[in-house]
């Protein structure tokens, strides 16, 4: 099957957006997210990142593949596991790292922290600490997007598909033909609980059928597959064909949050998924498509250096001064 996909990728490589060089950039963005999460993990253990944080390592192909199908002024709403959503949409890694560190130069000046990042200049209408909140935010952004010729995307997990937000908003979006793509990052665990034990019906993608909504179940660790599905969904939304639900099946490498060592996952399951690391799959595909090890190594080195600079800059940044930056509840 991989061979078939590689053949299809070879056939498409002269089309706009489909060249191996462009996929190498997307691989680089995936590596940036991976390196970012590793750094945040390290900084959390050092006490530089506070409270809790939810890492998305292992799930990088989903936001990168989906956001590669978007225009810069399209809208994205992410989750509390949202570092990858922000980075995929274009948030500056140093500003994002500074936000995690609670610094004044953070993308939200240190007011948001890990779970609630907003970056409107890059179209990120927010990341939400409440499971399912992103679904509503993207649905609302789609009300505007419908008038603006744009598209909105909601990222959310399998757990959110059991929230009222999911059912109310998918119905709403289909009723009003909103240009929105609902991207379920199904990592098979809602916090510590296996998805299958609390989710009726097996697949989440099939829930779209009850709304008459288009849907696809996608290999969420395959950058090419995610991008292909996203291009179709985003293109349809932009042309007025309404919403799509994409269930992207993936797996998180870390536990749910920083208090979770993820001991509840069977070792053979973890092993199986680690063997399908989305970065490894992308590297293999890029080599198949004719890129050399040296191209990949150069990208790796470039991304690693970018991440090092981002962390260094963020660590050097000042904390916000309460006397200067206490803020007010209302816009005057």
């Amino acid at each position: 099957m991989a061979g078939t996909q590689t053949e299809r990728a070879r056939e498409r490589k002269d089309q706009p957006g489909e060249s191996p060089a462009e996929y190498l950039d997307r691989y680089g963005r995936m590596r940036l997210i991976r390196r970012f999460e590793q750094e945040i993990h390290r900084l959390f253990l050092k006490g530089e990142v506070h409270g809790t944080t939810h890492l998305s390592a292992g799930q990088e192909a989903v936001p990168v593949g989906v956001c590669s199908a978007l225009e810069p002024d399209d809208y994205v709403a992410g989750t509390y596991r949202g570092h990858g959503h922000a980075l995929a949409k274009g948030t500056d890694p140093e500003a994002l790292a500074a936000e995690m560190l609670g610094r004044a130069t953070g993308v939200c000046g240190g007011r948001a922290g890990s779970m609630n990042v907003v970056d409107l200049p890059n179209g990120l209408v927010g990341c939400f600490g409440i499971v399912g909140g992103s679904i509503a935010a993207a649905t609302g952004a789609a009300v505007s997007a419908q008038r603006q010729g744009r598209v909105a995307v909601a990222f959310f997990g399998d757990g959110a598909s059991n929230q009222g937000y999911f059912h109310e908003c998918l119905n709403w979006a289909q009723v009003f033909d909103l240009p929105v793509v609902y991207v379920c990052e199904n990592n098979f665990y809602g916090e510590f609980t296996p998805m299958a034990s609390v989710t009726a019906g097996g697949e989440i993608g099939i829930r779209a059928a009850s709304f008459g909504m288009r849907s696809q179940v996608v290999d969420g660790n395959d950058l090419w597959a995610v991008r292909e599905a996203a291009l179709e969904a985003v293109g349809g939304a932009r042309e007025g064909a309404g919403p799509t639900l994409l269930e992207c099946q993936t797996y998180r490498h870390y536990g749910h949050s920083k208090s979770d060592p993820a001991k509840y996952r069977p070792p053979d399951e973890v092993e199986r998924w680690l063997a399908r690391d989305p970065l490894d799959l992308a590297r293999a595909r890029l080599l198949d498509l004719g890129l050399g090890e040296e191209d990949l190594s150069a990208t790796d080195a470039e991304i690693d250096a970018q991440m090092d600079r981002a962390v260094e800059g963020a660590l050097a940044a000042p904390y916000p001064d309460p006397a200067q930056q206490s803020g007010s509840e209302f816009r005057e």
Binding site: Y75, A77, G106, V107, C108, G109, R111, A112, N116, V118, D119, L120, P121, V125, G126, F128, G129, I130, G133, I135, A136, A137, A138, T139, G140, A141, A142, V143, S144, A145, R147, Q148, A152, G164, Y165, E168, C169, N171, W172, V175, G327, S328, E329, F330, R331
Partner: protein, 327 residues
């Protein structure tokens, strides 16, 4: 002077703001084709079209979420959550999304949206169609809570709410919709400012929404007993204008707060706490008249006893001041 009905004031404010600002959209259950279950919005859909005024599914959470997402991306939504009691459903979006966005985003954008609802008891609607949700939202930074006691204020406050850059909860008391009063003389009424509805020297009564009318009626009765009552219409629960109350109390030295809601956890207790903290030296007496600590009952005899009405308000003042009613 021309007379304006309360429900028409609501409709006119919406009509004029939808006309004035192309980014204003209005949606809710039965607001478009049906014109609202209390007939507050007839004709708006026909006049402004489906793009601007539309009916929605019975999905209050999606409605508030849609309004939030639309508001941070360029629109100014007004939504109708039909009854105040239904406001328990969209609370996550309003509390965790709309109210927090301006601050948490480091002021990247604010959330200009208005949530209108019919509130209050006295209509024999029972426990799930009679609550006032003002106090539920009063303790949440980043969201304004306002409501009028008369048609002129209703129009001016709603227009201000729609023009305000922040989320605003707008309370409309059911037993005011058919009330008529003078048309407004000003285009807008500022949010966050209480109004002195009646001047007096002996005691200050503070209330909101329908309670203000009851206090004004009680004040007339008390005038014939020789008690000169000042009535303050608080109009805004957040921000809470304690200054106007303090000014009034500095004159009268007595304050009675009348709330359609329970004494514990209500706006009246909040306000009295601030008034006491800031102006204890001005106070000779202070107390609260509120509803019983039960849900709103259905039966007319039970509901009437549950609500603080004009007669009960006047009696409470007489008793406290040691004055007998003149008969």
């Amino acid at each position: 002077m021309s007379e304006l009905e309360f429900r028409t004031a609501i409709r006119d404010a919406l009509d004029e703001e939808i006309e004035r600002d192309p980014s204003v959209v209005f949606f809710g259950e039965d607001v478009a084709l049906a014109g609202g279950v209390f007939m507050t919005t007839p004709g708006l859909h026909e006049k402004h079209g489906q793009e601007r005024v539309f009916d929605t599914p019975i999905s209050e959470l999606a409605m508030a979420g849609a309004a939030f997402g639309a508001a941070v991306t360029g629109l100014r939504p007004v939504i109708e959550v039909m009854f105040g009691d239904f406001m328990a459903l969209p609370m996550d979006s309003l509390v965790n999304q709309s109210a927090k966005f301006w601050y948490v985003s480091n002021e990247q954008a604010s959330v200009p949206l208005v949530v209108r609802s019919a509130v209050g008891a006295g209509g024999r609607f029972g426990a799930m169609h009679s609550q006032i949700h003002g106090s539920w939202f009063q303790g949440i930074p980043g969201i304004k809570v306002v409501g009028a006691s008369n048609p002129a204020d209703a129009k001016g406050l709603l227009k201000s709410a729609i023009r305000d850059d922040n989320p605003v909860i707008f309370l409309e008391h059911k037993r005011l919709y058919s009330v008529k009063g003078p048309a407004p003389t000003e285009e807008t009424v500022p949010l966050g400012k209480a109004a002195v509805a009646r001047e007096g020297r002996d005691i200050t009564l503070v209330s909101a929404l329908r309670g203000v009318r009851d206090c004004l009626e009680a004040a007339e009765a008390l005038a014939s007993d020789g008690i000169d009552v000042e009535v303050v219409d608080i109009r805004s629960l957040r921000p809470l204008d304690h200054e106007t109350v303090l000014e009034s109390v500095a004159k009268t030295n007595r304050v009675m707060l009348v709330e359609e809601g329970t004494r514990v956890g209500g706006w009246a207790g909040n306000l009295l706490g601030i008034v006491a903290a800031e102006g204890l030296h001005e106070l000779d007496d202070a107390w609260i008249v509120a509803t019983d600590d039960t849900p709103a009952p259905y039966s007319p005899t039970l509901e009437d006893a549950w609500l603080p009405a004009a007669g009960e308000i006047a009696a409470a003042v007489r008793e406290r001041l040691g004055v007998s009613a003149r008969v």
